[in-house]
């Protein structure tokens, strides 16, 4: 109904109205177009990230899986240590994967399955019986026969990109009971019904906050939270909220609730581990409880759900009371909304938090070994492959041996620290399996947790007497000239080099020992006799032996190298002694067994390789001499800690002014190299025997080695010789001992002595040579 207007005001009003509405329409159009444009852009963003490869997953490094079978060397305590590290729950009876029931000499458990390179190892309920330090029986709990069972391998580290995000990806069907319902109940009640944004939740939140006077509820849906974490930053502004809402709507348009939920479970931030962000429930389950996501119980589920609201504020390790209160609140909410019954909730509230002590994941637990793995991988893969593609790397690492090595190192160093001049000496250790060539433990320094200078791989140090077995091996390869009982001279000499310099070697105590048997030069680590022998053989020959043993680093071609002036890393020493321990067969030291890709498809194997470098007979003789090192030579203190029934072979190494203290030795199943010294090459008061050997003996005592027992090669024969003269004799004669020789090089047998004649040199052994006295002392 039109009102009467004055002509002027009428005109202005009409004009303003129409113009205003015209502008409004135009602005509205522009806004719509802009909104449409924003929508298209956001839509592209949402889809691109959600559908493409969503997360870059770091590579995971696994230790060797523990193999269980009748007869394997494994003590019950070591077994339990491994189970604890794997997060097995101690229960009265076995109740599903991940549970173990411990008896005095029997352990029952349900293993978790695992997918290896070779295929799937199914989860099994088994019983393991122990007798002494060995497994005496493995059987399935259901009574069926079982030849061998494998535990899942312990994850010992990963290869992380710079941004240090880490995840264990989980699928929705792996979720433990009550997790999804609990999460929805606590964080987003309308999740299954809304379309991304829930006005009902917002309204409820406004109501609750207004009535309680404090901010107690957020109105964000899980979808919005996912968008915030996934695409946006944390800033709180209107525009960000608006974008978030839009993107949530778009996400719900394209993807199902299950997909969104699964992404949420893998994306939500739940804690900080040093520089590493813990994203996703999979990793959080491991980080807080040391267990796989699917095994979580109600009280654990409630704790994690509670963490969503404030991972730092409710951090259970730093604020256990807050965490407990929050968890119990979550349990109450769950009971309130019918996710669990009241009794279940009460039972869960009564349980302790259950957080594992280990604060840090095994990211940095074994840095030296993971470093070795990385180096070997870098030869085959680019950095991006390693840090992004979710590779699974199976190694030969043995956590039980590593723990023993670390304990031995710590204990021995503590004693050594007490000595004047020996404080804060640094160290390195390599442990391998001599028969398979696999690296089992690695220590890069005194502090095994520290990821720094990896001395085991990088410290190039003079090896001292460790080189000597190469000299003696070179000699024993020439049986027509040298046997173990060849008489050699341990007398001073000097030799002039090509540059005119005179080299005059000395024995450790500046004492000459006169005429000795060849093996004694090695057993007692005499310098004079070894240097003479080496020069007689020819330095190039000895250097060639070192190379054939597997050392690729070139050593200086000077006589002083015969006594160890050349420098090697502990790893290179291990390679060299590996060939000696393995019957003359060289195997390149390996730490990786196989690699799977993120889909579980086999990617690469590192196969076992072997090459015979030496005659087994010559190696047998050198091993014999190296056993004498331990029985009567510089290594004999080892039998203060190891039973004498265990045969061991080894060599001490000491450099000038004791700047380096080495020991390298092996049993049938273990080879270990220990180095002690200062990074600045300063002096120490430690010899190979008083330093490195103490660490080595301590380790062997813990590791229970199998006695060395090399099969006698076809070309070896035993002959009776006179212990004082080395001449062939008869078993009926006094001073007769059996020694091994390469067939054809043994001294001819002597005449039978029949009646006990008066011994040639007298029973009290005053034969004029102190060495011969020692030899006779050996008979006693």
């Amino acid at each position: 109904m039109k009102r009467p207007r004055s002509s002027r005001s009428r005109k202005r009003k009409t004009f303003d109205w129409r113009r205003l509405s015209g502008w409004a329409v135009k602005l509205g159009l522009v806004a719509l177009v802009a909104l449409a444009g924003v929508c298209i852009y956001l839509d592209a963003v949402v889809q691109e990230k959600f559908s493409g490869k969503r997360w870059t997953i770091p590579a995971k490094v696994y230790a060797r899986p523990l193999e269980l079978f009748n007869g394997v060397k494994l003590s019950r305590d070591d077994f339990l240590t491994e189970l604890d590290a794997l997060g097995y729950r101690r229960e009265k009876t076995v109740d599903g994967p991940g549970s173990v029931s411990v008896g005095a000499s029997t352990v029952e458990l349900n293993t978790r399955g695992f997918q290896f390179y070779e295929g799937v190892e199914p989860a099994r309920a088994i019983r393991v019986r122990f007798a002494g330090g060995t497994v005496s029986g493995v059987s399935a709990l259901d009574g069926s026969n079982l030849a061998v069972a494998r535990l899942e391998p312990l994850m010992i580290g990963g290869i992380y990109p710079a941004h240090n995000e880490d995840r264990i990806l989980i699928k929705l069907d792996q979720a433990p009971p009550h997790l999804v319902d609990g999460l929805v109940a606590v964080e987003d009640r309308e999740f299954w019904h809304h379309h991304g944004v829930s006005p009902k939740s917002i309204a409820r939140a406004v109501w609750v906050n207004a009535t309680s006077g404090q901010v107690r509820q957020g109105g964000s849906t899980l979808t919005q939270q996912l968008v915030k974490n996934f695409y946006l930053t944390n800033e709180r502004s209107i525009t960000r909220k608006g974008t978030e809402a839009l993107m949530a709507l778009l996400l719900e348009l394209h993807y199902s609730k299950q997909e969104i939920l699964e992404a949420y479970l893998n994306e939500v931030f739940l804690g900080q581990d040093g520089s590493r962000a813990i994203h996703g429930f999979g990793l959080a389950a491991q980080y807080f409880f040391g267990q796989p996501f699917s095994e979580l119980k109600l009280h654990q589920v409630a704790l994690l759900v509670g963490l969503v609201k404030g991972p730092s504020y409710y951090n259970p390790r730093r604020y256990p009371e807050r965490a407990m209160a929050r968890r119990n609140l979550v349990l109450d909410l769950m009971a309130e909304q019918g996710v669990v019954s009241a009794t279940e909730a009460e039972a869960a509230k009564a349980r302790p938090l259950g957080i594992t002590k280990a604060g840090s994941l095994t990211n940095s637990s074994f840095p030296a070994f993971v470093d070795l793995v990385k180096r070997q991988l870098k030869q085959d893969y680019r950095d991006e492959d390693l840090t992004e593609e979710g590779l699974r790397i199976f190694t030969s690492f043995d956590p039980i041996l590593q723990t023993k090595a670390e304990a031995a190192m710590a204990e021995a160093l503590k004693r050594i620290d007490g000595r004047k001049g020996a404080e804060n000496v640094e160290s390195a250790m390599v442990v391998t399996n001599p028969e398979t060539g696999e690296v089992q433990a690695l220590l890069g320094g005194r502090d095994p947790r520290f990821a720094g200078y990896n001395r085991a791989l990088d410290a190039v140090r003079q090896v001292g007497s460790l080189i000597k077995p190469a000299v003696y091996l070179t000699a024993l390869e020439r049986p027509s000239k040298y046997t173990l009982t060849t008489l050699i001279q341990d007398e001073p000499f000097s030799v002039k080099g090509a540059d005119g310099q005179v080299w005059r070697p000395q024995n450790y105590e500046h004492k000459a020992h006169g005429t000795i048997f060849l093996y004694q030069g090695l057993a007692h680590s005499y310098n004079l006799s070894t240097a003479r022998l080496g020069l007689d053989l020819g330095l190039p020959e000895v250097l060639k032996t070192v190379e054939r043993l597997g050392v690729s680093r070139a050593l200086p071609p000077y006589p002083a190298t015969l006594l160890g002036a050349g420098a090697l890393t502990p790893m290179e020493v291990a390679t060299m002694y590996q060939t000696l321990a393995n019957g003359g067969f060289n195997t390149p030291l390996r730490s990786i067994r196989s690699v799977l890709d993120a889909n579980g498809e086999p990617l690469k194997r590192y196969p076992f390789q072997i090459e015979q470098r030496f005659d087994t007979g010559a190696i047998y003789l050198v091993q014999y001499a190296m056993q004498r090192v331990m029985r009567e030579g510089t290594g004999r203190s080892v039998y203060n800690q190891i039973p004498t029934s265990v045969n061991l072979a080894g060599k001490t190494g000491t450099t000038n002014d004791s700047r380096d203290s080495w020991f390298s030795g092996f049993s049938q199943d273990l080879l270990a190299v220990v180095w002690l010294g200062r990074d600045d090459n300063g002096k120490t008061p430690l010899t190979g025997a008083t330093g490195a050997l103490q660490v080595w003996s301590n380790f062997m005592r813990r590791a229970d080695p199998v006695s060395l027992d090399m099969p006698v090669p076809d070309n070896i024969t035993q002959a009776w010789v006179d212990a004082t003269t080395g001449r062939g004799t008869d078993p009926s004669c006094p001073n007769a001992v059996q020694m091994p020789y390469i067939r054809g090089s043994e001294p001819p047998a002597g005449a039978s002595c029949g009646a006990p004649a008066a011994p040639a040199t007298g029973g009290n052994g005053n034969s004029g040579s102190p060495v011969m006295d020692w030899v006779k002392g050996w008979l006693n």
């Binding site: 399935a140 069926s144 079982l146 992404a263 067994r593 889909n599 194997r605």
Partner: protein, 257 residues
């Protein structure tokens, strides 16, 4: 009014485009996941694993006395090598964990003294009544085999698996299984022998020869096994073009130390 229709329609069309249903598969993939009892692990694409990738058999033959695995020697000697399942109360494993038996000086054991045997249907109990003429000497087990000649459960199971894998053309898998057997029993020459065969099949005759040589160092007192190993070395040398070396190896195979 009409002016407003167009932008609204355009906006509507655009928004409808945004809402076009596109269901993308979310690539949440993770391998190495836990496997529940009795189930094969299902991978991200929801396809079950092929049966032959199952890890080595869990159960030893239920009647150990009946099981025998005949290890055939390819193209050469007609004598199959025989391995026997361990008796139920089996001796400790073959390697150095048995302190009582020094394998280096073990007397020549009965079963390998003849080049040809009947296929194995008897177990360890029957082995002692096999016609060898040599009394079963100082062995600690009930059977006539030395401790280091029995193949205990795990090694036997893995050798069997390896044989199946090799038969199915999965040489990588066979190699894996044999290396696993080697870790369990590092001094068992039969494992090294089989691994040498796999290397030959993988066109790596150099490694085949080296593995056979290593096996020989452990095969003291087992002339039939030694003969088979020399045959393999001969084959490997042929493949490497070393005819004279191959002839030498064949000679050693005949002599049978």
């Amino acid at each position: 009014m009409t002016k407003a229709v167009w932008p609204v329609m355009i906006a509507g069309v655009l928004l409808a485009g945004c809402a076009a249903p596109q269901r993308g598969a979310i690539p949440v993939v993770d391998s190495g996941g836990p496997v529940s009892n009795g189930e094969l692990y299902r991978q991200g694409n929801n396809r079950p694993l092929p049966a032959q990738r199952q890890a080595p058999v869990a159960a030893a033959p239920s009647a150990p006395a009946d099981a025998g695995v005949t290890v055939m020697v390819p193209g050469g000697s007609s004598a199959p090598l025989e391995t026997y399942a361990a008796p139920a109360a089996s001796a400790p494993l073959i390697t150095s964990s048995s302190p009582g038996t020094p394998p280096a000086q073990a007397p020549v054991q009965p079963s390998y003294s003849q080049p040809v045997y009947p296929p194995a249907t008897q177990g360890a109990a029957a082995a002692s009544s096999a016609p060898t003429g040599i009394p079963s000497a100082s062995t600690s087990t009930g059977g006539g085999l030395a401790a280091d000649e029995q193949l205990d459960g795990p090694v036997l199971a893995l050798l069997t698996t390896a044989q199946q894998q090799q038969g199915g053309g999965d040489l990588n898998g066979a190699s894996s299984s044999l290396e696993r057997a080697m870790r369990i029993a590092p001094r068992e020459p039969q494992v090294l022998y089989r691994l040498a065969q796999v290397r030959l099949a993988q066109n790596d005759p150099a490694q085949g020869e080296q593995l056979a040589r290593r096996a020989l160092t452990y095969a003291n007192g087992r002339p039939a096994l030694q003969a088979s190993l020399w045959q393999l070395i001969a084959q490997a040398r042929e493949a490497q073009g070393d005819a004279s070396g191959a002839a030498l190896a064949r000679q050693k195979a005949q002599v049978g130390t």
